[in-house]
Every structure is written in C-alpha cells, then in structure tokens.
Amino acid sequence: MNSRMNIRQLLLNNSTIVLFIVVFIIFGIWSPLFYSPENITNIIKQAAFTGIVAVGMTFVLLTAGIDLSVGSNMYLSVVVSGLLMRSTGIDVLPALIISLIVGTLFGAFNAFCIVRLKIIPFMTTLGTLIIGRGIGTALTESKQIDFPEKMNDFGQTLFLGIIPMPIVVFALVMLAGYVLLTRTQFGRQIYAIGNDPEAARKAGIDVDRVMALVYILCGFFAGLAGFVLVSQLGGRVDRSFGEGREFDAIAAAVLGGTSLFGGVGNVFGTFVGALLIQMVQTGLQFNLVNLYLQPMVKAVVIFLAIFFDSLREASQKRLKRRFIRPVSASTAGGD
C-alpha cells in the first residue's frame, strides 16, 4: 500500500516529465521516424526561442509578477537591429548586441514603471506591449524588414558541425538561468520575494532592486529570443512578428511547474515545458493529424499537464497538513 502511494506521489511530483515521455512514446509508435535524430534536433531547435523567452518569464513569475510585453519586445529589438543592419551594413554580432541592448532597455522601462512608479506589472507590461509594437510599426512604416543574407547564415550555422546555433544559444541560456537561480544570492532572493515580499523586505533584501533586475533580465532574454527567431525564419520580420509569444512563454513556464503566484518553479521545468509544447505541435504535424483537430489535441495535452500539476499540489498540501489532536472531553474536564 505504502509503495503504491510512493509511486503515485513520485509520478505526480514529476507529472510534466511523465507526460513528456508518454507523448514522446506515442508519437514514436505512430511514426518511427519521429525518433530520428533530425526530428529530435528540429524539436529542440524550434523550441529554442520560446524556451529563451520562457526562462526570462520564469524569473518574473517566481516573483509573482508577469511580463506581457515580451512579444513586442522581441519585435522592437529585431526591428531596430534590422534597420541598422540594412542602413549601416553592420555585421551579425553588432546587430545581436544592439538587439540585446534594446531588449534590456525595454525591460528596464518596465522595471522603472513597476518599481519606481508602482504600477502593477500586469498593467505596465500590457501598456508596453502596445507601445513597443506601436514604436516598431512606426519605425518600419508598417513595412516588413528583410535582413541581409548573413543573418540567414547565422541561423543555419552548425556549432562543431553538428549542433544548430539556436540550440547552442538555448543551452547557454538554460545554463545561465539555472546557475543564477540555484547558485547565487540573487536567485535565492527571487524565491524569497516570490514567497513573501514583506518577509523578504524585513529580512533585509532590497526587493525593489531584485524586482527591477528580474524585468531587465526578462527584457534581455526577449531581445535574444527575437534575434534567434529571425535568424531561423529566413531573415524576415513583419508586423506580426512575436505576436502572442508571451502566452507560449507563460505556458512553457507554468507547464514546467512554475507557479503564477510566485516562489515555486525552476529553469529545468521550463525547459521541459517548452519542449513539450513544441513536441506536441511537431508530432501532430509529423503524423498528419487533421488541421482542425490539431489545436484541440494540443489544448488537451496542456490541460492534462496542468491538471496533474494541480493534483500534485493538492496532494502535497494534504501531506503537509498538521493534525492537532482534538482535546478529549475527559482531559478538558480534568483538574
């Protein structure tokens, strides 16, 4: 009985990974080519930009905040670097740095509004979502931007002749996110603030500073993700670039076990979440599932992941519950 309970608890504690493995096996049985190294590489490559944004989003969600502007940030960052690349002929590396600077500044503006002006994150980032896209549209005059050929080459470069560049960037971001969250004081402060900001403040943590850094970091990752995506897309950016990507990033983080209420979550979970979303999409296309059914199947998988996660939370709450023995009538009446 006890071992059955333990297995159940183990499965629930790792529900997203279990679901990931189940989905992977099902798609593979359906079409053995799904297990081909080429396809697995494709899944990771396509999940790269969502994963990069999702790491930034994980930092924000851990503080019980939210950043709805990451899609617009991705757009504005690549618009600025693309325009400069075209007008001045700068190379890929300086363009990447410009993209990162714009993304970081975008994040810094969010941080200023949230920390200094005390506007709630939801409203701030909803506003900057609109402002960012508006500025990008004005800069491009609604026209698409076609990056020079060398941008395409960057997206298709193979590191050590085997690993596509987007995967390398994704891996570095994951590693950086993991180290920051688990091996630094800054990471521990993020968890503390997410659990109880007031208690964190009383413990001497500079909450405003940490909050500001979290949004700046999220902006930085959004700028990077935009650049990675445009290099994969053949170097074209139109007005819809990055639109709705904030929801993919939030979904990846939440699927990976990050709580929307802060204090719970990690980068590895986000990695699994981003891969799961992409694997489902790829698997459905790979097996030629009816186009009308595809969004429904995708939604069912996401729903299952969230459902199992809520079961896990409920079960953990049950286990942590403290039972206070009721005072018996005889004891109460004694003495």
Partner: protein, 344 residues
C-alpha cells in the same frame, strides 16, 4: 487699328479665362470620399491603400483618410464622423466580417453609399463589396505548376508529392485558397491517375514561426515532397530556410527543383520568380479592385443611389515564369519591387 487690337486682346483673355476656368471645374469633381482602413500591417495593405488613394486623387476626388489601428469600434466612430461631415461616399477596409456589416448598415441608414474593399463582410447582401476570388486565383497558380508536374510525371513515371501551407482556418481567404488547391489536385488526379500522392497539409495560422516548425516536421517526415503551394507569399523566406539546408532550394531548370507556387503577388514573390526559384503566384489584382471600387461608388453618387448593393469579383491572375515579362506591371508586388521596396 489700336482699338480693334485692344478688343481682340480682350476677346482672347475672355476666351482663355473661360477655357481655364472650365478646365479647373472639370478637374475638381467636388466629391469627397471617406476612406477608413485598418493598420497597414503588411505590404499587401500598403499597396492596397496606395492603389485606392492614388486612383481617387487621380480623378480629383478629395479623400479623407482614417486609420482605425485594428480597432473595429474606433472605425465605426470614424465612419460616423465622416457621415457627420457630409461625405459623398465611403470606402472601408474593415477589421473583420462582423464589424463590416455594422459599418455598412450605419452608412446606408444615413443614406451614404459605401464600398467594402478586399475583406468581405459576413453578410454580402449589403453594400458594394469588392473581393478577390481566392479560389480562382489559387487554381490558376496551382494549375501552372500542376502542368509542370505532369510533364515531369510523363518523363519519369514517378508520382509527385504535393504539400500545401494552409492559412488560419477561421479566415475565409485561407479556406478559399485551400479549396482552390484541392480542386486542381483532384481534377488532375482524376484525369491522370497516379500523378499526385496524398497531399500533405501544413498548418501555419498565418504565423511564420508556426509555419517554420510545421514545415520542417512535414519535410522531415516526407523528404520526397516536390510540389509546394503556400497560401500566402509572405512565407517564401520561411520555405527557403527549410529547403535550403536540405539542398532543395534549387532554381528552375536544375535537377532537384521543387515546384513552388504562392498567392498574393507580393514583392518577394516577384523577386523569386525573376530569380527562378518560384514558378508562379496567384495575384490579387489590386489595381483592378481599386478601379472597380471607385467606379461603382462614383456611379452610385452620380445616380443618387444611397444604398448600392453589389458583389464585384476580382478573378485574379497567375503571374508565372512564362508571363512575367508581359504582366509584370499588373502585379502590385512587382510594382513595389521595381520601386526598390525590398531595398528600403
């Protein structure tokens, strides 16, 4: 002599004044058209906006422009403002089919003739509706590459594997394009059994990143794809980034060329046809659509018709590697491309 010269001079001045003033009157039609559009988010809408405003102003018509920035409620308010200003007619590019119906009803209730450009209302019974025939334009483009596939099939005897990049399924334009594609494939398979394998459908949701991921999956699962139709030309760079690393991005006339067709007729499609990578694209004839819109609206204004109701179809045409020299100037994308649009 002096007096007669003076009278002759006065006569000449009088005649010239009449001619000049007549000329001025004939150029100014005293017609004001309100043009309400949504944000110009793609080069297609930039070209559509340009086609309409230039056509109207070319006729000496005053144009009041209103950009609703993708907000249907704002567009309704703007149209009410136009009506209050006493405009003679209205042209709109609506945000969606529902809001178009509301705006058309508002204009007609106030006795102002209205035309809807390129994005049709759900109910097509009210207003002048100028719309591209997506099925027809797609059929023309796909027919061109189907012919090429047939010639290949006759030589090699190997079946061709077609793939379609489908747009957002809630968009009637995307559905029309999908229907056009399947009409041609079915027709050819009936006539030439075994020509085409089962077509592969790839969802794009009109999003380049989704298209990239799904196309990459589809090509990995079916590496023998040799016939691709994209429901919109804006996905050609995405297609290229999937085909190129696999050695499948090859120009016409060389072994391994994948037959490629699209729809819209944008500047990139024009460039790629020039370069030989794309075989054909179905073109929405924006210039014809702008002319149809203006002519029908002016006709209604002149006849005092306040609620003209008519659907005007643009059958579109296929711009191919074979006719690009003759029809280049009819394609809005080539006009933009030749103006240096892609270099800006």
């Amino acid at each position: 002599m002096k007096t007669s010269m003076k009278y002759l001079g006065l006569f000449v001045i009088a005649v010239l004044s009449v001619v000049v003033s007549f000329g001025v009157v004939s150029a100014q039609t005293d017609v004001t058209i309100c043009f309400g559009f949504q944000d110009l988010e793609t080069e297609f809408w930039v070209a559509g906006h340009r086609a309409i405003t230039e056509t109207l102003r070319g006729q000496g018509i005053e144009v009041l422009e209103y950009n609703a920035n993708e907000d249907p409620n704002r567009q309704l308010e703007q149209i009410r403002e136009c009506i209050a200003q006493g405009v003679d007619g209205i042209i709109i590019i609506p945000q969606d089919g529902d809001s178009a119906n509301t705006i058309v009803a508002e204009a007609q209730e106030n006795d102002v003739p209205i035309a809807v450009f390129n994005r049709p209302p759900n109910d097509r019974s009210a207003g002048v509706i100028v719309v591209a025939d997506n099925v027809s334009a797609t059929e023309q483009a796909v027919e061109f590459i189907a012919q090429k596939a047939l010639r290949q099939f006759e030589i090699t005897g190997e079946a061709v594997t077609p793939l379609i990049l489908v747009g957002a399924l809630q968009d009637t334009n995307a559905i029309g394009r999908r229907d056009g594609f399947f009409n041609v494939i079915t027709r050819y398979n009936e006539r030439y059994p075994g020509l085409f394998n089962e077509p592969i459908e790839v969802a794009t949701e009109w999003d380049a990143a989704t298209a990239l991921a799904n196309l990459e999956a589809a090509i990995t699962a079916n590496p023998n794809v040799d016939f691709i139709f994209t429901s919109s030309d804006f996905l050609f760079p995405t297609i290229r980034s999937v085909l190129e690393p696999r050695g499948m991005w090859v120009p016409m006339g060389q072994p391994g060329h994948v037959l490629l067709a699209g729809l819209d007729g944008d500047a990139t499609a024009c460039q790629l046809i020039d370069q030989g990578y794309v075989d054909a694209t179905g073109v929405q004839n924006l210039f014809l659509e702008a002319e149809l819109t203006m002519n029908r609206l002016l006709q209604a204004i002149e006849a005092g018709e306040t609620a003209p109701n008519e659907v005007l179809l643009d059958p579109g045409f296929a711009l191919t590697a074979g006719n690009i020299f003759f029809q280049r100037s009819d394609m809005w994308g080539c006009v933009l491309y030749d103006d240096g649009f892609l270099d800006q």
